[in-house]
C-alpha cells in the first residue's frame, strides 16, 4: 500500500493515467465522428437512389445513434483540450506555440462538423432528400481534415519540426513544417483507416448478431453489408499501411521500433519475435522467425536493425513487453479482420451472396470489438513507445507534468465519469433499438405485412400515415 501511495504521489503517473484513459476513451467516439457520417450517408444514398425503404430506415436510425455518440464525443474531446493544459503545462508553456497550432486548425473542422451535424440530424423531416444528403457531406470532409489536424499534433510530438529553440525557448515557428511533419502522413492515414474499420465493423457487428438470431430480412442484410463493405475495403489498405509505417518508424524512431520488436542490441539478421515476454535480456514463451525482422525492415536479412542499446538506459521506453505484445495484438487483429473481409469479398465476387454461416457471422459479430482492441493497442505502442519523451528527444514527460496537486482526484473523477459516459454511449443506442423493434416495424417483418402504413412515398420526408403503434411518446 505504501508503495502505491508513493507512486500516486508522483504526478507523472496519475497524469499519464488520466491522459491515457481520456485518449483511449475519446478515440473510439472520434472514430464515429470521422466515419459514421459516411456509413450513414451510404445507406441514405442507396435509399434515395433506389427508393429503398429499408436503407432509409437504417440511415434514419443510425443518425439518431450518431446524435448520442457525437454529443458524448464533443464533451470527451473538450476534456482532452482542457487536459493538454491542465496536465501538461510544462509542454504547453514551452511548446504550445507549435503543438497547439494543429489543434487550432482542428477548431475550424470541429466547428463545421458540429454545425452540419446539427443540420443533418435535425433536418430529416423538413429538408428535401438530396438537400439533406448533401448536408451530410461537410461532416465527412471535416471528419477527415479534423483527423488530419489532431493527428498532426500527435505526429509533431513524435517528429518535432518547424521551430528554432534558443536557450530553451522557441524563437521562431514555421507553421507549415509543424503541421506537415515527417510523421503526419503516416499517422493520419493509419488513423483514418482505423476509424473507418472501427465504425464499420462495430456497426456491422450489431447486425451480424441480428442475422445470427435469424432476422435475415433485407433490413438486417443491408445493415450488415453497408458498414462491413466500407470497413472491409479499409482493412487491406490498413495492412499495407501498417507495413509501410513500421519501416518508417524503424527509420525515424529506432528505439521505439526496437521495443516493438524486442531488438535489445543493434544487429543484422534480427529475428522477428511473435509473442513472448522480455525479462532480464531474455524472451520467454515467444516464437522467433530468424532474420525476418531484418527482411521486413530492409527487404534483406543483412539489414542492420538498431537496438535500444543505442541510447542510455534512462532514455529507453519502459514496459517493452507491453509495447511488443500490444504491437503483436494490433498486427494479429489487423490480419484477422483482413481475412474476414477477404472471405466475404471472395464469396460476393463469385456467388453474389452474403455469407450466412455461423462460422463467418460469429467472428463478424466480434469484428468491431477486435477493431477497437487493435486501435487501442496501436495507441499504446505509439504512446508508451515514445517514453520517456513527451516531445521525442526534446522534452521529457517529467518536465512537462503539472505541479498542481489534485491530479489523483481528477483521475478518479475522470474514471468515474467515463464509466458513466460508456454506459450512456452503449446503453442509449441499445434502449433505442429495443424500442424501435416494438410495435412490429414494417421493414423488419417484410415477408408478411399484415398492417403498417399504406403506400407512403419513399424519401426522408415520408411521414407515417398510420398512427404510431405501441406506447405513445412520453414527451
Amino acid at each position: 500500500m505504501g508503495a502505491v501511495t508513493h507512486v500516486l504521489a508522483v504526478n507523472p503517473i496519475p497524469a499519464r493515467s488520466q491522459m491515457g484513459s481520456s485518449l483511449g476513451f475519446h478515440i473510439i467516439l472520434a472514430c464515429f465522428g470521422i466515419a459514421f457520417a459516411a456509413v450513414t450517408m451510404t445507406a441514405e444514398w442507396i435509399g434515395i437512389k433506389r427508393g429503398d425503404a429499408a436503407a432509409l430506415l437504417l440511415a434514419r436510425r443510425w443518425s439518431k445513434v450518431m446524435a448520442v455518440l457525437v454529443a458524448v464525443g464533443a464533451v470527451s474531446g473538450t476534456v482532452l483540450s482542457y487536459e493538454m493544459g491542465l496536465l501538461w503545462p510544462g509542454l504547453m508553456g514551452r511548446f504550445g506555440a507549435a503543438v497547439d497550432l494543429p489543434f487550432s486548425v482542428e477548431g475550424i473542422f470541429f466547428f463545421l462538423e458540429a454545425i452540419f451535424v446539427g443540420v443533418y440530424l435535425y433536418g430529416w423531416q423538413r429538408l428535401s432528400p438530396w438537400a439533406h444528403w448533401w448536408s451530410g457531406m461537410p461532416i465527412v470532409v471535416s471528419g477527415l481534415l479534423g483527423a488530419l489536424s489532431v493527428v498532426a499534433a500527435n505526429s509533431w510530438m513524435n517528429s518535432p519540426a518547424g521551430y528554432t529553440l534558443r536557450h530553451g525557448k522557441i524563437t521562431s515557428i514555421d507553421p507549415v513544417s509543424v503541421f506537415f511533419n515527417a510523421s503526419t502522413p503516416y499517422e493520419t492515414a493509419h488513423m483514418v483507416l482505423a476509424a473507418y474499420m472501427v465504425t464499420g465493423f462495430l456497426v456491422a457487428g450489431v447486425y451480424a448478431v441480428g442475422l445470427l438470431r435469424g432476422r435475415r430480412d433485407r433490413y438486417h442484410r443491408l445493415g450488415f453489408a453497408v458498414p462491413f463493405t466500407i470497413a472491409g475495403m479499409a482493412a487491406p489498405l490498413q495492412v499495407m499501411m501498417g507495413d509501410i509505417i513500421a519501416r518508417f518508424i524503424a527509420h525515424n524512431q529506432p528505439v521505439k521500433f526496437a521495443a516493438m520488436e524486442y531488438v535489445s542490441a543493434t544487429t543484422r539478421d534480427a529475428p522477428e519475435w511473435l509473442g513472448g515476454i522480455f525479462i532480464n535480456g531474455h524472451v520467454y514463451l515467444g516464437a522467433a522467425i530468424p532474420a525476418f525482422d531484418s527482411i521486413l525492415v530492409g527487404f534483406s536479412p543483412h539489414t542492420r536493425v538498431i537496438g535500444w542499446d543505442s541510447v542510455p538506459p534512462a532514455q529507453r521506453p519502459p514496459l517493452v513487453t507491453l509495447i511488443h505484445l500490444s504491437f503483436d495484438l494490433m498486427v494479429g487483429l489487423g490480419f484477422f479482420l483482413f481475412a474476414l473481409a477477404a472471405w466475404q469479398a471472395w464469396w460476393w465476387w463469385f456467388r453474389r451472396r452474403l455469407l450466412m454461416t455461423a462460422w463467418f457471422l460469429v467472428p463478424a459479430a466480434l469484428s468491431g470489438v477486435a477493431a477497437v482492441a487493435a486501435m487501442e493497442a496501436g495507441w499504446i505502442v505509439t504512446e508508451v513507445g515514445r517514453q520517456p519523451w513527451i516531445v521525442y528527444r526534446v522534452l521529457l514527460v517529467s518536465n512537462a507534468v503539472t505541479p498542481a496537486t489534485g491530479v489523483t482526484v481528477t483521475l478518479g473523477a475522470i474514471l468515474a465519469l467515463y464509466a458513466i459516459l460508456t454506459v450512456v454511449s452503449i446503453g442509449v443506442p441499445m434502449i433505442m433499438s429495443r424500442r424501435w423493434r416494438q410495435g412490429t416495424p414494417a421493414e423488419e417483418a417484410a415477408e408478411k405485412v399484415p398492417y403498417g402504413p399504406p403506400q407512403a412515398t419513399p424519401g426522408p420526408a415520408a411521414r407515417p400515415l398510420a398512427p404510431p403503434a405501441g406506447r405513445p411518446e412520453a414527451r
Partner: protein, 399 residues
C-alpha cells in the same frame, strides 16, 4: 518592448471568441438555468420543451467556441495558458466537470422516457449549467485581478476565491440567464406561444436587473482589489463600458415598451455582452496578467501568430456561412427536434419481398461479367493500388 501588431490582432480575435462564447454558449447555459427554475414537472413542461427545442440543434456548435478559446490561447500565448491551467487547476477542472455532465444530460435526455429518469437527466443538465459559468467566471476574475502568478508552483486557491473572483462567477451565471431569456423571447413568439413569451419577458427583465446590479458590484469591488484595471475601465475602456451599459438599459427599456418583435432586442443584448468583454480586454492592455506578464513577453513567435490569423480568416470564410445556414434553418424551423421513436418504428414501407436470399444488388442490374475478367481486373487494380501507396509513403532515404 511593445507588443507586435500580430499579437495585438490575435488578442483582439481571442476576446472576440470569448464574447462569442459568452453570447452563444452563455445563452445555451442560461437555458439550463431556466430549465432548473421552471418548477414542477407539469408547470415547467412548456418552458422546458421550448428550451429543449431551441437549444438541441445548436448547442454543440455553440460549445465549440470554448474549445477555440483554449486552443487560441494555448497557441498564441503559451506561457499565459500554462500558468492559468496550473494556478486555476481546481475551478477549471470543475467547469470541465459541468461540461461533461451537461453532455451526458443532452445525450440521455431524449431517450429517457420515465418521469424519474427525465427528471434526473434534466437536473444534471440544469445543475451543470450553473457550475460551468460560475467557475469559468471565477477563473476570469482571477486573471483580471492579476492574481495568477506567471510561474505558479501549484494550484493557487487564493486567486479564484477572492471576493472579486467569486462575484465575477455570480455575474457570469446571471449574464447567462439574462442572455438566454432574451434569446428565448423570439423563439417563443415564432412558435406562437404568447404565454411563454410573456414568461420569458418577465425573466429577462429580472435577470437583466440582477446582472446590472452584479456588474455594478463587481466594478466597485475592482476599484479596491484591482485599482489599475478599474482606472483603465474608467478611462481608455470607458467608451466600451458606456456602450455596454447603454445597451443593457436599452434592452430593459425595449422590454418595458413591449418591443418584443424588434431584432434590436437581441442585437442590444449582444452588444451589451460583447462591449463589456472587449472593454475588459482593453482595460488589461498591454498585459496578459496585469501587471506581471505583458502581451509582448507572453506571446508566441510570429509564425504561430500569423498561423492563428490565417485560421481566423479561414474560420470566417468557412464557418460563418455554415453558422448562418444553421441559424437560418433553425429560425425557419426547418430543423425539427429529433425524430421520435414512433417515427422510426413505422416510417418505412414494405421493401421488396424477401424469399430465400435474393441478391443485394440493384434489381435488374446487368449480368455480372465472366469470372476471368473480374479476377484479372481485381488483380490489376490491386497491384496498381499497392504500387501507388508504396510510392507515396516510401520513407525518405529508404529503399
Amino acid at each position: 518592448m511593445s507588443p507586435s501588431p500580430e499579437a495585438i490582432a490575435v488578442a483582439a480575435i481571442l476576446f472576440g471568441i470569448i464574447a462569442a462564447y459568452a453570447l452563444f454558449g452563455g445563452a445555451d447555459l442560461g437555458g439550463g438555468i431556466w430549465d432548473l427554475l421552471a418548477g414542477s414537472a407539469e408547470r415547467g413542461a412548456a418552458p422546458r420543451d421550448l428550451i429543449d427545442e431551441a437549444i438541441t440543434p445548436v448547442w454543440e456548435a455553440n460549445h465549440v467556441w470554448l474549445v477555440f478559446i483554449l486552443v487560441v490561447l494555448g497557441t498564441a500565448f503559451p506561457p499565459a495558458f500554462a500558468a492559468i491551467m496550473t494556478a486555476l487547476f481546481v475551478p477549471l477542472s470543475l467547469s470541465l466537470l459541468g461540461i461533461v455532465l451537461r453532455g451526458v444530460g443532452f445525450a440521455f435526455r431524449h431517450t429517457a422516457q420515465r418521469l424519474r429518469m427525465r427528471q434526473l437527466t434534466g437536473a444534471l443538465f440544469a445543475a451543470s449549467s450553473l457550475i460551468t459559468p460560475f467557475f469559468l467566471g471565477t477563473a476570469v476574475g482571477a486573471v483580471a485581478t492579476g492574481q495568477v502568478p506567471v510561474h505558479p508552483s501549484g494550484n493557487v486557491l487564493a486567486a479564484w476565491t477572492s471576493p472579486t473572483a467569486v462575484l465575477t462567477g455570480f455575474l457570469f451565471v446571471a449574464a447567462c440567464a439574462y442572455v438566454s431569456a432574451v434569446f428565448l423571447i423570439p423563439e417563443a413568439r415564432q412558435r406562437g406561444h404568447q404565454d411563454l413569451m410573456r414568461y420569458f419577458v418577465l425573466r429577462a427583465t429580472a435577470a437583466g436587473i440582477l446582472t446590472g446590479v452584479l456588474a455594478g458590484g463587481t466594478l466597485a469591488e475592482l476599484s479596491v482589489s484591482a485599482p489599475r484595471l478599474f482606472s483603465r475601465l474608467m478611462s481608455s475602456a470607458l467608451p466600451l463600458v458606456a456602450i455596454s451599459v447603454a445597451a443593457g438599459i436599452a434592452v430593459l427599456v425595449m422590454l418595458w415598451l413591449r418591443w418584443y418583435y424588434s431584432v434590436g432586442l437581441r442585437v442590444a443584448a449582444a452588444v451589451a455582452v460583447t462591449a463589456v468583454v472587449w472593454g475588459w480586454g482593453l482595460a488589461q492592455y498591454p498585459y496578459l496578467f496585469p501587471t506581471s506578464l505583458s502581451l509582448a513577453a507572453g506571446s508566441a513567435p510570429a509564425g504561430s501568430l500569423v498561423a492563428e490569423l490565417v485560421v481566423a480568416g479561414l474560420a470566417v470564410l468557412l464557418v460563418a456561412p455554415g453558422f448562418a445556414l444553421l441559424y437560418v434553418l433553425q429560425q425557419r424551423r426547418m430543423l425539427t427536434a429529433a425524430e421520435s421513436d414512433a417515427d422510426l418504428r413505422l416510417a418505412a414501407q414494405p421493401g421488396p419481398a424477401v424469399s430465400g436470399q435474393p441478391a443485394l444488388g440493384r434489381p435488374g442490374a446487368p449480368a455480372a461479367a465472366p469470372v476471368a475478367v473480374r479476377m484479372t481486373t481485381a488483380l490489376v487494380l490491386a497491384i496498381l493500388a499497392i504500387r501507388a501507396i508504396r510510392d507515396v509513403f516510401s520513407p525518405p532515404g529508404g529503399r
